[in-house]
Each structure stands twice: as structure tokens, then as C-alpha cells.
């Protein structure tokens, strides 16, 4: 499926390509495949994928933007989805024990349901990885169940532990590093979402999916140990 794209010069050495302003699986897949083609251009320095846009940064100042933009248009017109990179569904263990899920009770009260209901809903669906931003290794995920939408906390916490799983508005995600944060924390994953020791520090990529799998405290600590020893293998299956 081809979309109507707009091309804007962004600064003197980058072009911003925009898709229709909606969050959709078709759009992100189209962006991912366009990005793969664009990266082959020798003068491209880096690209940034987001929900409905692709920023293409060039090594040098853009001399003639008409030339650059028509080159991009030709690549888009010629690109096909047939040469897709393998995409995976990753199983992410999460412990929803109240010692980690510090906001579970509050959300359950707000939603007039049990904490178990929240865990069930959160682990039920697959979440699409749209892109990675905010912090190294932070996955922008789509697919949070409507009944789990909760506004961000009015007072952000000074410190949220790395691995904490949160809900902020209509989004859910995992904090890859210790940081301050305003999301409602419902659990913690023992995995490392930005592992400098691994050849690929960030296992998931745009277009992959993840699934949260509830684990108990005992399993959490066991996996945490294996992760620390670089022994844990995240379960994945081809999409």
C-alpha cells in the first residue's frame, strides 16, 4: 500500500518525510521498508523513525533540495514490501507483584476492577514496537487495551527503576534505565532493554512485537540472575 507523503527540508542537511498523521501498523511498516531503502544512499548519515515520519539526515548540507527530494520520491515509488527483514514476537517476562507494581492498586480502584484483571488485560495482547526514542532502548509500543488507559501521574517520581513497566495515557512501556518518570508503574521486567555488553544492545526493532508474560517473584529473581550472567535467552518467534 502506498501513501501520500510530504517531503520537507528540516534544517540545512535533513529531509523530513511525513505519512498521514495516524498511528497505524500499515504506516509504520511502510516507513520501516522505506527506511531500509534510504539507508543504502551513501550520503545518508542517520535516519530517525517515528509513528508517521522518517527523518533523513545527510552528511553534508543539501545543495539542491529538488534533486534530493525527487531521488527520495523515486526510491519510494520503486520500493516494495517483498524484501522484508525478519520480524519477531518477543516474550517479555514481567513480575506484577505489588512490591514492583506500586500503582496497581490505585489503577484497580480507579477502574473498579481487580489487580488481577489489569494483569490479565496487560498480558493478553501483542504490542507492536513502533520505534525507539526518549532514552536508549525505550520502545514506543502500540496496542494497549482501552480499559487500561490511565493518565500520567501529576507528580512524576524522582526515580523509577530500570525495567519498570508503566502505563502513561494510552501508552505502555518499559523504562530502560533508572530515571525520573510520570507513568503509573504496574510491574517490573528482569530483562535489560539496553545492554551495552551485547553485540546488539537493543534486541527489539521497529516492526517487531512484544508480549508480556506474567512471572512470580521467584522466577523474576532467577531470570534477573541469568540476565546478569548473560545466560538468559529471550523467547522469540518469527512473525
Amino acid at each position: 500500500m502506498k501513501f501520500q507523503l510530504t517531503y520537507k527540508l528540516f534544517g540545512r542537511s535533513a529531509v523530513l518525510v511525513e505519512w498521514p498523521a495516524t498511528i497505524s501498523k500499515d504506516i509504520i511498516q511502510d516507513i520501516i521498508s522505506f527506511d531500509r531503502q534510504v539507508k543504502k544512499i551513501a550520503s545518508v548519515l542517520d535516519t530517525i523513525i517515528a509513528y508517521n515520519s522518517l527523518l533523513i539526515r545527510y552528511q553534508n548540507l543539501i545543495g539542491d533540495n529538488d534533486v534530493i527530494i525527487s531521488q527520495l520520491k523515486n526510491i519510494y515509488a520503486a520500493s516494495s514490501h517483498l524484501m522484508k527483514e525478519d520480524q519477531f514476537l518477543w516474550q517479555i517476562p514481567v513480575c506484577y507483584h505489588p512490591s514492583f507494581g506500586i500503582d496497581l492498586e490505585e489503577i484497580a480502584n480507579k477502574k473498579k476492577c481487580s489487580e488481577a484483571d489489569i494483569v490479565r488485560l496487560h498480558t493478553e495482547g501483542d504490542y507492536l514496537v513502533y520505534f525507539i526514542g526518549f532514552q536508549p532502548g525505550f520502545l514506543y509500543l502500540g496496542g494497549l487495551h482501552q480499559n487500561l488507559h490511565v493518565p500520567r501521574k501529576s507528580n512524576p517520581r524522582i526515580r523509577v527503576d530500570a525495567g519498570s513497566v508503566g502505563i502513561g495515557g494510552s501508552q505502555t512501556g518499559i523504562y530502560p534505565q533508572n530515571s525520573s518518570g510520570g507513568w503509573n508503574i504496574i510491574g517490573k521486567s528482569p530483562l535489560n532493554f539496553f545492554n551495552m555488553k551485547a553485540s546488539n544492545p537493543c534486541f527489539a526493532k521497529p516492526g517487531d512485537c512484544i508480549q508480556f508474560v506474567a512471572v512470580d517473584l521467584h522466577t523474576f529473581y532467577q531470570i534477573e540472575k541469568e540476565v546478569a550472567n548473560q545466560k538468559f535467552k529471550i523467547k522469540k518467534s518469527l512473525l
Partner: protein, 282 residues
């Protein structure tokens, strides 16, 4: 080696930055004042991307454990070798055990210390630039920074250049329209090109400006940003994103600073006035 005797408030190793890793959410980082950093490397005949030390507000003290050549550029904070004032933008031979310190501020905010051959710390994802989570965040007391030994035949011209005064004094920041600029109304556009004041919230991630712009723009779907992007927040504050900024953001991107403008703003301090100036769009 260079020993960090005093790490100041924010000293870090920086080169031209980290590219190709935005897909993992890794920011660009790199030296803030490209003009000063490249000049320091050029005077020492280093590669323009050689790593150097970025010293915020001239606060820091360094001891040279081996002979080398140095050059100081950027903000002038009265640099001294063994308590004796040295000149900015000049190459100096340095004897082992010499100590570099700073004094009174003359102008600017960020000082660059370049050494012969560049600082030889570890490269992570194609860059030596410090960024929290990728490398250490700042220099700490006792850090030993590897440098190249000088060879018998190391020649240096002891060249010196005059720095462009305009770089440090001017309030004008050349920029072009950002992706959401056209959503601003006439009044907002008019205000945008009047002077602003740099607030107390300024660092390597970005500079917040004091004055507000009336903001009725709808928020955008999170999209790419880069150093030099001027964001308009829902409260009407403008934020100029700089080298350590995130790779994506959800605020309207109203302007994009030129490389020259980024270098200029990085030498500004709280209370300084700035004014955006639109370069003709291509």
C-alpha cells in the same frame, strides 16, 4: 596521560558525535561549539573530529603526566599553566607535570581543551563523546585520560588565530523554518523573531527561554528532533534542543538552528539575550 585533578561542574570528552544509532534511541551528543572545537583541533593539526575536553564555565583542573602540545578555545576563562596566564587560540608546548587551571570569566560558557593527537579514550558506537548510559557522564576526579606521546620530530607551528568576536558577542541565531512553523499565526511569528532571554535551565540537552509565546498549536505525533530544533511547549515556552537531546519529541518544531547558531547559543549563559533570524529557506 592527563590527570583530572578537579572535575569542575561538568567536564566531558566530546568529539563530533555519534551517528547511525538513532534507531536505538541513542542521541548524537558531541561538542556543542563546533566552531571552537574544530578551531582547537585545526591549530594542533589534529583531525577535526579528534576528541577534546569540553569544560563548562572554565571549572576544572588538569595535570599533564607527559609532554604534549595543547590549545584552548571557546569561552575565555583566563586559562593558566602553572598559575601563569596563557593565550586562547594558541598552541603551547607543555612540559610533564604542568597544571592547567582557569580564572575569571571574560566571555563564553564552554572551553575546549585540545591536545596533540586528541584524547584517546575508548570509542563507543563510533564516538568518544560522553553520554550517560553509553559512557560515563562527566569526568571525575582522578580520571586518567590517554593521549599520544609526542615524537622526537613532532613539529608544531605555534600558530595562533584571532577568534571571531561576533561568535561570542552576537545575539543573532540564524535558523530556518521548522516543520510546524507554518501553523503559527502572524502574531506568534512576529513574537518569535523578537529578542528572548536565556533562562536558568540550560545544559547540553537544551536551552529553555524565559519569555512565552501564546501557544494554541495541537501537539504532534511524536516525531524526530535533532540538535538545533526549537520546540514550542504547551505552556508557550521555547526550548532550543542541543547535542544531548533525545531523538524524538512530541512538541511542535517551529525553527531549526544552523550549525553556526548552535555553536553561538552554546556559549550563552542565563540572562543573555538571543534573537532568532530567519535565513532564506532554500
Amino acid at each position: 596521560m592527563i590527570e583530572v585533578l578537579h572535575p569542575g561542574i561538568y567536564c566531558s570528552i566530546q568529539d563530533h558525535g555519534r551517528f547511525g544509532y538513532a534507531k536505538m534511541g541513542i542521541p548524537q551528543a558531541g561538542y556543542m561549539d563546533t566552531y571552537a572545537a574544530k578551531m582547537a583541533n585545526a591549530l594542533l593539526k589534529n583531525h577535526e573530529r579528534a576528541a577534546l575536553i569540553e569544560i563548562t564555565f572554565g571549572q576544572g583542573k588538569f595535570k599533564f603526566i607527559s609532554d604534549t602540545y595543547i590549545c584552548i578555545t571557546g569561552g575565555d576563562f583566563s586559562p593558566k599553566i602553572n598559575e601563569k596566564l596563557i593565550k586562547m587560540q594558541s598552541v603551547y608546548p607543555i612540559k610533564k607535570d604542568s597544571v592547567l587551571s582557569f580564572g575569571k570569566r571574560v566571555y563564553g560558557a564552554r572551553v575546549y581543551l585540545s591536545v596533540y593527537g586528541g584524547i584517546r579514550t575508548e570509542s563507543v558506537y563510533g564516538s568518544k563523546s560522553y553520554f550517560k548510559g553509553i559512557t560515563q557522564q562527566t569526568l571525575v576526579k582522578g580520571d586518567m585520560l590517554p593521549i599520544l606521546p609526542i615524537q622526537e620530530n613532532t613539529e608544531n607551528s605555534f600558530s595562533r588565530v584571532r577568534v571571531s568576536e561576533k561568535h561570542f558577542r552576537t545575539m543573532y541565531l540564524p535558523c530556518i523554518k521548522g516543520p510546524e512553523f507554518s501553523k503559527l499565526n502572524k502574531e506568534q511569528q512576529l513574537r518569535l523573531f523578537a529578542p528572548f532571554t536565556v533562562s536558568d535551565h540550560n545544559n547540553r540537552v537544551g536551552y529553555r527561554l524565559k519569555e512565552c509565546l501564546e501557544n494554541n498549536l495541537p501537539s504532534i505525533l511524536t516525531s524526530a528532533v535533532m540538535p538545533g530544533t526549537v520546540q514550542l511547549t504547551p505552556s508557550g515556552k521555547c526550548i532550543i534542543l542541543l547535542q544531548d537531546c533525545q531523538v524524538t519529541g512530541g512538541y511542535s518544531r517551529i525553527l531549526q538552528l544552523s550549525e553556526t547558531a548552535i555553536a553561538r547559543i552554546s556559549q550563552k549563559i542565563s540572562g543573555d539575550k538571543i534573537q532568532f533570524r530567519l535565513e532564506e529557506n532554500l
